[in-house]
Symmetry: C2
């Protein structure tokens, strides 16, 4: 049988690989009959895990690989040298068209380099940003860029805003997403050189709903849908959110265990609190796509478990159905044509 | 009577001025007999507030001013034009030596500009950073710089690390404080151009305890005492911490109100939780000093209430007793002499 969606899974990447990754894969195919998964990694290990489950065998394929890339290796070198690693072979299956997308919980650096080098950027794309969804009080926002593209230029940020808008509208389903740039004050005159140069470009861009600057304190409140920033700041925001949320939840739990009274109270609030905190759990929202490539690469947390793996697989399907990369390239081409026309008009 | 510590208070700055600022001032002098406060602002309004309290009248002085600087004004222009504003007159009282320090909850920009322009930087100080204490799971860390010094250079960050170490050791009492630079990975090779250039300078600096890079997720855990970063990123960290903590606490409270069971539990855990969350409340730790000036300027939150005002006043006293600014200038002079010597040795 031909499957509409074929997703490559790096079965060896991540802290909980292969067990949790394969568990998530099985959960995904048991929920949807239109997905086929190809697992890349050590065949014996993969089969040991697969044997634990009941599933439609047609929906799983295995490609045996002999190497693994660890998080401590220099990414560019690892991608170049470890040609038979689960990650490299899986990424190449997207390049060749065998698979539609790849999900990996492996080394972030290697995923970023691998995606850009082995698959390549779409026409007109200057840089491929990593764009995770982050939980807010109102739902989710797209934080773009959180990758390794440090020292970005204004024209990169402009493209990130455009790519992010397309993603939020077509994958997440937010109508006319509000785009904001991270700044240290609300006024246009504030900010560092990069923000000051980028601001007018975003303001002039007709195809996005630019609402101006956003201060970091308003990000968790959900005041914008697409949060544009260069990767260093994006990375700081993403990791601080994760670190602070887990630290706060930890000290709240400790606080609840501090007296007999609070222990009893803690037991009573637990179920309600669990639901609430779930909405603020980054792992609920799947993975972070590397946008603008000629194929889809989705990075999930190194600590990803079955749930996140499954969500990321479904995300890939929506991404493919919505033809996001094609839309991005078309959008950028249109933008360039417009810019050329305007330039010609000026002369 | 001569007072050892004379602190200027901008009675008109901040969302809760003058009521809460003056309440905090009274609480401070009622706790310590060795402090005199000079309140700058509208005399009538100040006296109306003062009349609510019982206190030693000798410990309070008033300087009447007729103008106020709002948060919406361009800082440099406001400082230049509003010569009779509470903030400008109060800052000048530090410059003249009448007061030892100033505390203000007014416009951040105006405080930063006013401090640097009207008081001036200490000898050898390249930039004056704003350095707030931020709560962590283990206590507090100093986040330096969070001011308006965007687009910093490596030599600025090096000085921030040195100033921050002196502050944490002598004001906060942390022995041999651990200094780390904010980065997007733990390895020396990671980061943007600024971090890559700053890293070796920090590593080579003999007078600080440099422990390397810190990822944002480890900041709330308290993995370093002095967190060095340029002001844009520092500002993002500071505001994101405040925004996320308040958003999380809000949704946790909502979660507790969602069922009858959780409501009862919420009542039982409330006292214990209040104590716990207090340790994570930034307002508990007073204000943020502008380090390296020829006088002490302390900025407190625009939303500061009496408690934060009082804590900031006590912070000023410790700062003065420990002769922090003198130590900073001496430290930088020593550093410069060493560098010269080494250069001479090389030739």
């Amino acid at each position: 049988m031909e499957y509409k969606n074929v997703i490559a899974i790096d079965a060896m990447g991540g802290d909980n690989a292969p067990a949790e990754i394969i568990k998530g894969a099985i959960e995904a195919i048991n929920e949807r009959a239109d997905i086929k998964l190809r697992l890349f990694g050590d065949k014996d290990k993969i089969e040991t895990e697969l044997n634990k489950y009941t599933y439609n065998k047609e929906q799983i394929g295995i490609t045996h690989t002999t190497e693994e890339i660890s998080c401590n290796e220099a990414p560019a070198m690892a991608i170049k040298k470890k040609k038979d690693s689960s990650l490299v072979v899986a990424i190449k299956s997207v390049k060749s068209g065998e698979c539609d997308a790849i999900v990996s919980a492996g080394s972030s650096g290697a995923i970023l380099v691998g995606g850009q080098v082995l698959i390549g950027k779409g026409k007109g794309v200057k840089r491929a940003p990593l764009a995770p969804l982050t939980p807010t009080a109102k739902g989710v926002s797209l934080l773009i860029d959180c990758g390794a593209n440090v020292d970005a230029r204004p024209e990169h940020l402009l493209q990130f805003a455009q790519m992010g808008s397309i993603y939020m509208e077509d994958v997440v389903g937010v109508k006319n997403p509000r785009v904001a740039i991270v700044n240290i004050g609300a006024e246009e005159a504030k900010g560092n050189a990069l923000v000051k140069e980028t601001y007018p470009l975003l303001k002039a861009c007709k195809n996005i709903n630019f609402i101006g600057s956003i201060e970091a304190r308003d990000i968790p409140k959900g005041e914008a849908d697409v949060i544009v920033t260069e990767a260093f700041v994006g990375n700081v925001i993403l990791k601080l959110e994760e670190g602070l949320a887990s630290t706060l939840i930890h000290i709240i739990k400790e606080g609840m265990m501090s007296t007999t009274r609070s222990k009893i109270g803690g037991l009573l609030v637990k179920p309600a609190l669990k639901d609430t905190l779930k909405t603020f759990d980054a792992t609920e929202y799947g993975g972070a796509p590397l946008l603008g490539l000629k194929g889809l690469v989705v990075k999930i947390h190194g600590s990803a478990k079955a749930k996140e793996t499954k969500t990321a697989i479904f995300q890939c399907v929506t991404f493919k159905e919505q033809r996001i990369n094609e839309k991005i390239v078309a959008h950028l081409a249109e933008e360039m044509a417009q810019a050329k026309e305007e330039k010609a008009g000026e002369q």
